[in-house]
């Protein structure tokens, strides 16, 4: 049973969304209101359990009176606001942002992006064959997970998850600046020499597959990763008394990775190294 804390009742505020009056509880974002109204606004750096960094800018909408577009994921709705989600101006920015991203990083394992590229008629190729790309080699320096920053959109989610919002280990941060900015551990060392405790919470939040289980990485490389054939089973971790929920992803009767439900009010998707990676004994059949 999932218990959702109700919190203090909040006032409703009224504003207009694409010309329609809407009501949203005080404190909710424009994105919350869009979702409640069934509007589809693309998002990449927004995540359900972290404060959005509003860095990807793919969710921008037009707010009457604002000089620039505003990120729906983090701008709080205000009474009397007039928000338009689907104007030519907002669509233009989203299209360009998608083109800029798709031309610089590998989005092949980012869910939903293919559909957005089509919807916004984005043409990442138009920057020409010499357009700078990240061109990073995957960092495979341990048996648990792989960092493939060629897929990284710098959404900062892993940094926030490793830092003060989830794990409090602070093993990773953004280093460098501008186009050269990269996620890195201290001194840009291998993961094994860093403060990483292998909780895997960063993999849990990464929206692009830049961080992935070694098992998934190897299977993808071998061409055997097939999500459509996987089943997901949520159970309780048996290692210790905390009782975290685990979701086992199983393909061909083998656990291929472990995630954790984000709506769990105790763990919000967090696990420790044992729950996340310590599943080999389950499938040890000798």
């Amino acid at each position: 049973m999932t218990v959702t804390p109700l919190g203090i009742p909040r006032r409703l505020l009224e504003f207009t969304l694409d010309g329609e009056p809407v009501r949203a509880p005080e404190g909710s974002t424009i994105l919350d209101a869009c979702r409640a109204a069934g509007k589809d606004v693309p998002t990449l750096c927004e995540g359900d359990t972290l404060r959005p960094k509003n860095a990807c800018r793919v969710c921008v909408v037009e707010v009457e009176g604002a000089r620039t577009l505003v990120p729906a994921c983090s701008r709080k709705a205000e009474a009397g606001m007039e928000v338009r989600t689907d104007t030519e101006r907002a669509r233009h920015s989203r299209k360009i942002v998608l083109e800029l991203l798709a031309s610089s990083v590998d989005l092949s394992t980012t869910p939903k992006v293919a559909a957005w590229l089509k919807e916004y008629e984005a043409k990442p190729d138009r920057f020409g064959p010499d357009a700078a790309r990240l061109n990073e080699e995957p960092k495979v320096d341990n048996d648990l997970y792989v960092r493939d920053y060629d897929k990284c959109i710098l959404c900062y989610k892993c940094v926030d998850a490793c830092g003060d919002q989830w794990q409090n280990t602070f093993a990773i941060s953004v280093a460098g600046r501008g186009f050269d900015a990269r996620i890195a551990v201290e001194h840009d060392a291998p993961l094994t020499d860093s403060a990483c405790v292998y909780c895997g919470n960063c993999i849990e939040v990464c929206p692009t597959g830049a961080l992935s289980f070694k098992s998934e990485f190897d299977m993808r490389a071998a061409g055997t990763w097939e999500e459509s054939r996987q089943t997901e089973t949520t159970t309780v971790c048996a290692y210790c008394g905390v009782g975290c929920n685990l979701t086992l992803h199983v393909q061909d009767n083998e656990i291929v990775k472990v995630t954790s439900p984000h709506d769990n009010p105790v763990t919000h998707g967090n696990l420790c190294i044992k729950g996340r990676f310590g599943y080999q004994h389950v499938q040890n059949r000798d």
């Binding site: 960094k53 509003n54 860095a55 990807c56 800018r57 793919v58 921008v60 620039t68 577009l69 990120p71 983090s74 101006r89 233009h92 920015s93 299209k95 360009i96 942002v97 800029l100 991203l101 031309s103 610089s104 138009r126 920057f127 020409g128 010499d130 357009a131 700078a132 959109i153 710098l154 830092g163 409090n168 280990t169 602070f170 093993a171 990773i172 941060s173 953004v174 280093a175 460098g176 600046r177 501008g178 186009f179 050269d180 900015a181 890195a184 551990v185 201290e186 001194h187 840009d188 060392a189 020499d193 860093s194 403060a195």
Partner: protein, 607 residues
């Protein structure tokens, strides 16, 4: 948090550099040798964690002494401050002046930005590199504007050691640059700040009146020239009275955003949350800007006095002066001025015997244009990467350390002195109705007398260029720096006011006026502007991080092309530029395309 520190150890020298800033460590928990007591006594890092804001000074301490920041030095600093090493590494790699790779003790920065490029920086740089090759013990770096544009081309040498030595050479020749790098101590003294003020000593100046007249090292001389009368007046008026005067004067911020200063002060003063902070933004890094440097070098006490008044009015007891890392002489002068003011009771627990406490701390930037953005500057002071925060919340509500903060740049603050001494009505009578008071302009490029000029708002661009002696064959003028826009040589009747430039479809920005004659190849200039923004983008948001790269690529492609050949890339530039303006987090990304766009639209570049 449970911090993990690697095995790398600092050298004695590195340890000494950090300890000189923080004092010796008290226990092995902070990096001292283990003592008996440490075995029985565990101390968390709570105290040290509150000193996170010493991270940037700590990085400077190491970089100043050694010339670069090793793993061991960084880890030791992190241990002392309870900062996670990954975060500190992210901070150290954010700033251009720091290196986390070994390099020679001396770094010679050669400015290759707009004014210097027009004055022959590429040849200078090549000449220097030919003389100071590998093994010379000098790293030659191409640098963005060093704020010495009136003496272009400029170089800055920094030689690590105890103490760190610096030398500036401008206008530089290969000989003089090499001398500055090899023997900074014996390099010739810089010319006085007044040399950057062609009007120095003239009657009627308000902001520049003391530059070249007063001894910048002498508090008594400053007082003899009217110093500290404004502060006395402020104490007579009381905080609310000061804010009223500033509001009535019509003063608006001189950094580029032109926000009414009185409104900002009022909004901060009325916040119930305490403490309040004052931040003086002296991180002038806009290419072509050097007025704040000249003010700070020529009349440092004026800034100290003005900061005291601003803090008094807004209820702040601590002020941070965030100074560009590339301004060694301004740093020395201000350090001296602040120490003198403190010794004489003009800063400290009881300013002027009025029972009001205020003190100023200087924080040096480390080479990042973006730290001039107010919220990025807060992050930088706090010891984080200098990335802008998203607004709202605004600084008046949640600024430095999350507290109500008033932030003004140097020129804005210095305007407060005449406002208080002459009174708001007299001040407001200067200039035009919507742009009141005097304004400083930094004129450089193709002019006979480059420098800082003070004119009442409303003078035209032509009048200013006549004063500075624009050369024959003027082709274009860049207003407002790299984030501003170009105007044509036949648009010299544009009034230099906020409203006048807006009506003319351009911007006054921070008061940069760079003149270019027809010897300057426009496409190269535009490429340099694009390169500047690509280098200086913090990298946080996609439109700016990738957009600046795609724009630079397009400009590279069309550098030798025009007309139909360039059309496709111009469309691309426009489309990317529009998204950058609309969807970037901060002003850098939002304005990065302005200058190039104006060159295409107004000057017909690539036609």
């Amino acid at each position: 948090m449970d911090l993990h520190f690697g095995d790398s150890k600092p050298t004695d020298e590195e340890r000494a550099a950090v300890d000189a800033l923080l004092g010796p460590p008290e226990s092995s928990w902070e990096g001292a040798d283990r003592s008996d007591a440490d075995l029985r006594w565990a101390r968390g890092g709570r105290e040290a964690r509150d000193r996170r804001d010493l991270l940037l000074p700590g990085l400077h301490a190491i970089n100043d002494r050694i010339g670069w920041i090793s793993d061991g030095a960084l880890d030791y600093l992190c241990r002392r401050l309870t900062v996670p090493p990954a975060e500190a590494y992210g901070v150290a790699t954010f700033y251009a002046m720091f290196s986390v790779k070994p390099r020679p003790a001396t770094v010679l920065q050669v400015c290759t930005d707009l004014a210097c490029a027009a004055a022959g920086a590429p040849e200078l740089c090549a000449g220097i590199e030919a003389r100071l090759g590998l093994g010379s013990g000098v790293t030659v770096e191409r640098s963005p504007c060093l704020g010495l544009c009136e003496r272009a081309p400029a170089v800055l040498a920094v030689k690590a050691g105890d103490p760190v030595r610096t030398a500036v050479s401008a206008p530089a020749t290969v000989e003089r640059a090499v001398l500055a790098a090899s023997a900074p101590d014996s390099a010739p003294e810089e010319p006085p700040a007044a040399l950057a003020v062609p009007q120095a000593g003239q009657d009627g100046l308000m902001l520049l009146q003391r530059v070249g007249v007063v001894d910048p090292a002498s508090l008594d001389d400053y007082r003899a020239h009217g110093g500290y009368t404004a502060l006395r007046r402020a104490f007579e008026l009381g905080p609310a009275g000061v804010i009223r005067e500033v509001t009535d004067s019509g003063l608006v911020g001189r950094g580029g955003a032109a926000f009414p200063t009185g409104r900002k002060w009022q909004a901060t003063a009325s916040q119930p949350d305490r403490p309040h902070y004052l931040v003086c933004n002296a991180d002038e890094s806009e290419p072509g800007t050097f007025k704040d440097r000249v003010l700070m070098e020529g009349d440092p006490y004026a800034l100290v006095e003005a900061m005291t008044i601003a803090a008094y009015a807004t209820g702040a007891h601590r002020g941070y002066l965030y100074l560009r890392g590339e301004y060694p002489r301004a740093l020395r002068r201000l350090e001296h001025a602040i120490a003198q003011a403190r010794a004489r009771g003009l800063l400290g627990d009881d300013v002027l015997g009025q029972g009001y406490a205020f003190d100023i701390e200087i924080r040096r930037g480390a080479g990042a244009y973006i730290c001039g953005e107010e919220t990025a500057l807060f992050n930088s002071i706090e010891g984080y990467r200098g990335e802008p925060r998203s607004k709202p919340p605004f600084p008046v509500e949640k600024g430095l350390f999350g507290k109500p903060t008033v932030e003004n740049n140097v020129e804005t603050l210095v305007n407060v002195l005449p406002i208080l001494t002459m009174g708001a009505p007299a001040y407001a009578a200067i200039g035009t109705q919507r742009s009141t008071g005097p304004k400083l302009f930094c004129v450089s490029g193709s002019v006979e007398r480059p420098g800082v000029y003070e004119l009442p708002f409303g003078a035209t661009l032509g009048e200013l260029l006549t004063l500075a002696g624009a050369s024959e064959g003027l082709r274009a003028v860049l207003l407002g720096g790299a984030a501003g826009g170009f105007v044509r040589a036949d648009e010299l009747d544009i009034p230099l006011t906020f409203e006048g430039t807006r009506e003319a479809g351009t911007t006054l920005g921070s008061g940069v006026v760079m003149a270019f004659d027809d010897s300057v190849p426009l496409p190269r200039l535009l490429l340099r502007i694009a390169e500047f923004f690509r280098d200086e983008s913090c990298g946080q948001c996609v439109p700016c991080r990738v957009g600046t790269v795609r724009q630079e690529e397009a400009l590279h492609r069309i550098v030798e092309r025009a007309g139909a050949d360039a059309a496709g890339d111009i469309t691309l530039l426009r489309e990317v530029g529009r998204a950058m303006r609309d969807a970037s987090i901060c002003g850098l990304g939002q304005t990065a395309w302005n200058a190039v766009e104006s060159a295409i639209d107004r000057l017909g570049a690539y036609e």
